[in-house]
Symmetry: D2
Subunit: 345 residues, 4 copies
């Protein structure tokens, strides 16, 4: 059994990692940390885990942690991650980092959207952990930069069409909608039940930090630099992201051709499910699972294609994808521990 | 006191009309109809109305109804409306029709998106009832085609910019999100609590019937035919529509200029509220009210402007706007009965 | 126009007071305070109030405040209230205190459930502000202790039956359920959307501080000391309280007699609405209003009566009742500004 | 692999059975029926099942069904169940019936609360399928009457205390709250999102059909006939039941004794989790799982104990318990396929 640790276990992403890891047949959850809740059982912080993950959460002292596990998930904020990951790497540990710190290869771009990078030498070692796109590099790395939730939904929705060159990469607009768990478990007025329920709004319009991450991957797929519009919104639901993506279709491309492109591209991907023609995905049908459901509509009136892509932001958008990456870099079958059926209703 | 009637009082729009009319100082709710609930008190169908609207709902026999009121709101499905409105008009009644039947001036367009029109002679008599745009014509008509909910939010968001020619009318995309009350009170699996809660999805992608209505009005404002993308989504909330609208900005136009255009265009409009710069509207802050809150963001990276527009779909998107139109065609002060403060939380 | 002030305007109760007062025809909202948001417009804190309550919120300096209004609402936590109210009273101001500090007449009881009382000399001057029970004393006082939300729903549900002696006051159990706004707007993990949504739980079982307040009033109505069970629960909704109250019925009392007792007791009360026989109240039908809807069921199998009572916790359970009390002590018609129709859906 | 069938697969209980069975390591879901959706894939009715349960749903022709599986789950309404079960039994099949038809041993009681029983000869063969109470009889039967959702939560909450004689069985009140999925997937106005959201109400007060079922089992545990109060409520959430149960405590019994009674009674029960002292269960922490979480509070002021019990109504309250019963009567380890971690948030 591989010993794994979660650094930053008290947030929703940390909890979700624990939920998946505590029943994963190949690993043992050996250590979990949280500054705020050190000394409490993880299952007292999250009573759903009672009987599954009753270990006591410890404070984050990286030097002491390294001995306790072989692989670490860092589920901490950006900037904190870059201060922890080097120590773990130097101790020969495998790391799946769920922050943004190692996702953007170009430190200039990173520093423009975030802040100064204090461990830029690790940027070239890190692999962007979207297995459906970068599986070959992932299996060879020791440091996975686990993708952001919005980027995962958008990139998976666009990849087959960008690769095939059937859409104009300079026409892209991604209008994304997320559940509230994306904001984490920190006590903030904006995440209160009464502020969010029975309401809907956009936020960080045209300036969300996931933008450069999306553009980097879209650009790689399109093989040219891409600038695009990205608008995140807050939905009164706990889990889920739906991205509605608009693109100009190359003239003459039919819906059937698009359908074929998706089918071929994702034919061996267990975690991507294409909707039947005329059907669109809904976040409630991927709830609690590692699936990305995708549908689309060609609109001959406008010459655009509208792509709809749904994930559970905490699973395929975070913890589930992290476990998928762990499976890859540890040589376990990729789906191990990830084939839970989505919970509906 | 003007006697008014609601034809189709048992749906959410009918209920909302009753809620507004029962305390409107210039009118008496004289009659309300519903096939399904005939014989019951309106306040037994909607207990919130107890003590306010205890009248007994009757069956819909148009010939008998005409004598009972001076002005009618027809809150019935399209196709039904066109079978009722002519009788009311011939009896000399004023009519505010909340269906789609008289919104689209061109019967060819109407028949392409809906079905055969059986009262096309009334199309030229009807005025599209968006007061902020068509007030001058509204005050002179006897038949108001009350706008759809999505079109209201989109047109109000775009009008000042289209009029001023600062955006490209051929680049428009409206990504709209609606609460569930937009689907009405009919018992349908898709509107069940368990189907909708904690979920999000798009529907009728690139084929929703509000599209031609939006394009008609946008085309009038831009003074050219317009074809655009419109994607409706379903939000797990009861009330509210937020539209996120994308447009290519004419080069050189600044955020300040945009801000001024909105301010001037809406300076005398009591029901449009501009958000301070950097702030975006949220549906929860217009809940239960007749306001349309608007914000925007200029994105120099992409050359686009992103416009956000929020309304309560049952008020400014239906019943409230209908009362506003009634006020106009009856000579009451336009805001009468409509200045309730939005309910939050 | 009477000048009124809100001390503690940034919480949900403060906001709700502002919502009601800004359109109240007899008063002007002259001042509003908040330590946290001092210097901001109230309508920037609560954008629903934009165009209605754009005054700038100030810090709480009681000595400076007294000159600015004739009547004050203190919407601050208990303990803070008792430090402010004496100064206001000494300056000859009328005060509606929405905290618990002046609700319990017996300082020994108060200190057992709360903490030391620093202004016990005002306890005898304060009147418990439930107009349906204490109207005669309220009109004569200068200091109203505005009731708690749970107590309001429970006492109104029980009053006619206790007065008539048809239930055993020693058999009472109140099982109450509240929306999340009852927890206020402070940033706490337990009030986050993700913690509350799609969930249900009890809290402070058999130890909630509203217990002595309920027992005091129930005891007055029953004319004997009463000890009872009270269990609060948290419902995933923003507004509303429903109390389910169990009592042993005196043998031989029929449902019709109960029905008559309620009808007579509340016949002149505009804000209590009895449900038709066989019908039960629901919080969604009093949303945003000052109504208390009441229904009941006599159960001959168990010899118990089950009473259901629904209010909006922020209106009849707080701000609306406070305005009702203001109307009473200022000589305005009792319903002034309070006859908004409940908002449904 | 055991071949199993679901009769009535299109309701939420049927879907939940499919969700559990399609990944159960000992069985194959061989057939699923639905009158309404016959001919469609189960995964088109419930897209969450895509890739897991893609079998085509057939019409219900019992005679044809018997050959297709060895064990059947009947997830159909009461009255329908009793018309199907005899045919299945006569064909030698094992049956887990999720309706109420075989839960009440006394046909007189059944007929008083439901309607005429057409297969009373099977009542004595059926075993009430609450494993924690009746495991010994369950393992020997071929016909399990799977318990109702409310009864499961209430009986598990009370059993240890009734058995030990520390509470007065004639003082019981169960105040229960359920999510909306308990009402099933049928299109009914009362289950619409807009009717339920942001609201709370009681229904079928003192007359819900689960009452005799609860009283039967409570009476067995207390060893005397029991009449009790039971009030169901509707919570705006999809899944979950929380029961708040009141009982008079026998004088002198302490909280520690109660705690010990629960610990001993449930020490070997994998699906009952006791909350730490002072902690209460919440439905969100059992979501999607087969757990029943229990907490309690002794209230010396009133001499009552308040017991809180939480389940997922679709799992431990229906499909999960049915699978648990299947495991028992088929000789599989009792927890097989049921140890999914609760999904939170």
């Amino acid at each position: 059994m591989l010993k794994v640790g979660i650094i930053g276990a008290s947030g929703y992403t940390g909890e979700e990692l624990a939920r998946l890891l505590c029943v994963h047949p190949e690993v043992t959850l050996a250590v979990a940390t949280s500054r705020q809740y050190a000394g409490k059982k993880l299952s007292d912080i999250y009573p759903n885990l009672r009987g599954f993950a009753d270990l006591v959460v410890t404070d984050v002292v990286v030097e002491e942690l390294v001995a306790k596990a072989d692989l670490f998930f860092t589920a901490v904020p950006h900037q904190t991650a870059m201060s922890i990951v080097p120590t773990l790497m130097e101790a020969g540990k495998k790391v799946i980092d769920l922050s943004a710190d190692f996702r953007i290869s170009d430190p200039v771009v990173y520093e423009k959207w975030y802040q100064k990078h204090t461990a830029p030498e690790y940027l070239s070692k890190a692999v962007y952990g979207l297995p459906e796109i970068h599986r070959q590099e992932i299996v060879k790395t020791e440091l996975v930069a686990n993708p952001g939730c919005y980027p995962t939904s958008i990139i998976l929705g666009l990849a087959p069409l960008l690769k095939a060159g059937v859409i104009d990469p300079h026409s892209l607009i991604a209008d994304s909608k997320s559940g509230v768990s994306g904001a984490g478990r920190s006590a903030a007025v904006g995440s209160l039940y009464c502020e969010v329920s029975d309401g809907f709004k956009a936020y960080k319009v045209a300036e969300h930090r996931h933008t450069p991450e999306i553009e980097q991957e879209v650009g790689r797929l399109a093989d040219c630099p891409v600038v695009m519009s990205f608008t995140p919104h807050l939905v009164p639901m706990a889990r889920g992201i739906l991205s509605t993506i608009y693109a100009k279709l190359i003239e003459g491309v039919s819906g059937d051709q698009i359908s074929d492109l998706y089918s071929v591209f994702y034919q061996n991907e267990r975690f991507v499910r294409m909707c039947p023609a005329g059907d669109f995905p809904a976040t409630q049908f991927v709830r609690g699972s590692n699936f990305c459901d995708i549908g689309f509509k060609v609109d001959p009136r406008t010459g655009r294609i509208v792509i709809l892509s749904a994930i559970d932001n905490l699973v395929k958008g975070a913890a589930g994808q992290a476990v998928q990456n762990m499976n890859l870099i540890c040589g376990f079958p990729e789906e191990t521990g990830l084939l839970g059926v989505p919970l509906f209703p």
